[in-house]
């Protein structure tokens, strides 16, 4: 039987990622030698499951930088991000994984997250980016529920249905250049991610 694979097997150039790039995602940043040796071991033993939260954070930081250098999972034309189900080996928390992809690809507009499995694709939810100004309030209505959010944050709202109706209103912040907007998004286990971080 062939060699066992893992998440980090997908990427060809992990060893060339500088320490500083990975360390910037980690607080506190580990010593350079510690992180470099950890990464090197993940390259030669890609099948390993992270056993501690610290190792999981290291894996997610490496994954961010690996994705940034390999934008193969972000289909910009389709406005879709595909998350391979193998990545759940690092964390089963789909919100955490989605945030890794957002950090790596900095997608904008409305982007749909899809989980790719061996048996097919499954819609997880959507991301909408808001161009916010400081100290603004973002008003969202999602499937009849009202949400008042502060600009500058990234939050996830529940939207388990196949399609969800969203209403947006703000004074200074905009989606697609508009202060008020009604739109529909595909929903799922992930829901609706609102990226209102200041651009």
């Amino acid at each position: 039987m062939p060699k066992l694979s893992g998440v980090f097997d997908i990427f060809e150039n992990l060893e060339s990622i500088p320490y500083e790039d990975i360390a910037r995602w980690l607080k506190p940043a580990p010593q350079q030698e510690v992180l470099e040796n950890y990464l090197a071991n993940r390259i030669i033993y890609p099948q390993v499951t992270p056993s501690t939260l610290i190792e999981q954070e290291y894996d997610l930081a490496i994954l961010r930088e690996a994705l940034r250098r390999n934008p193969i999972f972000y289909k910009i034309n389709q406005k879709k991000i595909f998350i391979p189900s193998d990545f759940l080996q690092i964390t089963p928390d789909i919100k955490k994984l989605a945030s890794v992809f957002i950090d790596a690809y900095s997608p904008s507009g409305i982007v749909v997250f899809i989980l790719s499995t061996g048996t097919g694709d499954k819609v997880l939810g959507s991301l909408v980016t808001v161009f916010s100004s400081a100290s603004d309030t973002l008003h969202f209505e999602l499937e009849g529920q009202n949400y008042k959010l502060k600009s500058g944050s990234l939050i996830v709202l529940p939207c388990p249905k196949e399609h969800c109706h969203v209403s947006f209103k703000s004074t200074n912040s905009k989606i697609f250049g508009k202060n008020e907007l009604l739109f529909e998004i595909p929903g799922g286990a992930l829901g609706l991610i609102i990226d209102g971080r200041l651009k």
């Binding site: 039987m1 062939p2 060699k3 066992l4 060809e12 992990l14 060893e15 060339s16 030698e33 510690v34 470099e36 040796n37 950890y38 990464l39 090197a40 071991n41 390259i43 030669i44 033993y45 099948q47 390993v48 499951t49 992270p50 056993s51 501690t52 939260l53 190792e55 999981q56 759940l88 080996q89 690092i90 964390t91 089963p92 928390d93």
Partner: protein, 374 residues
């Protein structure tokens, strides 16, 4: 549930293979195809007639370059023969004794008081090439001056390596987890293949190259050191890298003791002739049993390489494994139990755990964090 894990060959015992012995300089091969040889047999003889050899006596004697002359045991311009005392530093009250013998027959030609380097003019002398192994001469190349000997070896496979094939007598420096710094590297290790411990420091590697150590076998190495040797590569490191010394890493990156399986075997080959092929990630330990000639005479060498690459296999109780994830990285033992129920790790990941009995304790790890070893 079918739990697949990696299966890795670490030790392949008693394998018939060809060992190439090369003659230095001009000379003649003294054996014929089909001839049986034992390690002490001289299979070729050449005359080395010219050239120089430099020795960094300051480093070898652990004194400053300006002080070296005080410790020289032979005057400049005088002849010295291979193995004779060239320099001696008693070490005083707190230092360790340092002895430097001449690596060749030569004349003390020049000493640089700023660098501490001595230049030896090599005297014409015969070089005898010993067979070094029990075997049968399989081929003789009189042009390239190479003798191929069919012999029986035990092959030890590491995880990574660097360097062209090199040979030498094995020297185990200490315990399998020892940290090897430059103080553990001395001039008397030149031409040897040394077995370090859990980590070899950069300074020790440089010292080893300076002293002409042929190779180093270590459990762990820092990733920056390894990348420096392999042209920045880790994933596809098995290539043609060469930095003046052979290196074999048996476990991985960071401080990891040499695996018990490999260490015990290497210890039993201390002071014996071995061949290190860093770029192939292996060291071959020729059989020291004279009876092995009989065994290999019946064996036909296969032209195809056996597949010792990583494979997968279902984990079962009784299998011998090594751990490849933290916190028990490098530990070895036998699988004594496999959980039927899922465990949720602190990371939230759901896994099946296995229980491993090591030499000293029982440990539990996710099944994906082990490799079956042979």
């Amino acid at each position: 549930m079918n739990m697949l894990v990696s299966r890795r060959f670490r030790v392949v015992p008693e394998r018939a293979t060809l060992v190439n012995r090369a003659l230095q300089g001009n000379g003649e091969i003294l054996v014929k195809r089909g001839q049986e040889v034992i390690p002490s047999d001289v299979i070729g003889r050449s005359v080395l007639s010219a050239g120089f050899r430099t020795i960094n006596l300051s480093k070898a004697l652990q004194v400053s370059p300006g002080e070296v002359k005080k410790y020289l045991q032979r005057s400049m311009g005088k002849a010295i023969y291979k193995g004779e005392l060239l320099g001696f530093n008693g070490g005083g009250l707190f230092g360790s004794k340092r002895v430097v013998t001449s690596p060749t027959d030569g004349i003390l030609e020049l000493f640089n008081e700023e660098t501490g380097i001595l230049k030896l003019k090599i005297l014409p002398h015969n070089i005898d090439l010993p067979a070094a192994v029990f075997g049968i001469v399989d081929g003789v190349d009189h042009v390239k001056k190479i003798v191929s000997i069919k012999t029986q070896v035990t092959e030890v496979y590491g995880i990574l390596g660097s360097g062209r094939p090199r040979e030498g007598y094995l020297k185990v420096l200490g315990e399998r987890g020892d940290l090897i710094d430059k103080n553990k590297i001395s001039y008397d290790l030149h031409d040897k293949i040394i077995v370090g411990g859990g980590l070899i420091y950069d300074s020790a590697l440089k010292e080893a190259v300076t002293f002409g150590v042929n190779g180093i076998i270590t459990g762990g190495i820092s990733s920056s050191e390894f990348k420096g040797m392999s042209g920045g590569k880790i994933k596809y490191a098995h290539s043609e890298s060469e930095v003046g010394i052979g290196v074999l890493v048996t476990e991985g990156f960071g401080t990891i003791p040499v695996g018990q399986d490999i260490f015990d075997l290497l210890k039993s080959f201390d002071n014996k002739f071995v061949i290190l092929e860093g770029n192939e990630g292996k060291v071959s330990l020729p059989s020291t049993n004279p009876g092995s000639i009989k065994s290999i005479s019946k064996v036909q060498l296969s032209s195809e390489n056996l597949d010792f690459k990583l494979q997968t296999e279902t984990i079962e109780t009784g299998k011998i494994i090594r751990v490849v994830g933290n916190p028990y990285m490098g530990e070895q033992g036998k699988v004594v139990a496999i959980d039927n129920a899922i465990t949720i790790l602190p990371t939230g990941v759901k896994v099946y755990m296995i229980t491993i009995l090591t030499n000293s304790r029982k440990i539990r790890v996710p099944y994906s964090n082990v490799e079956i070893i042979f």
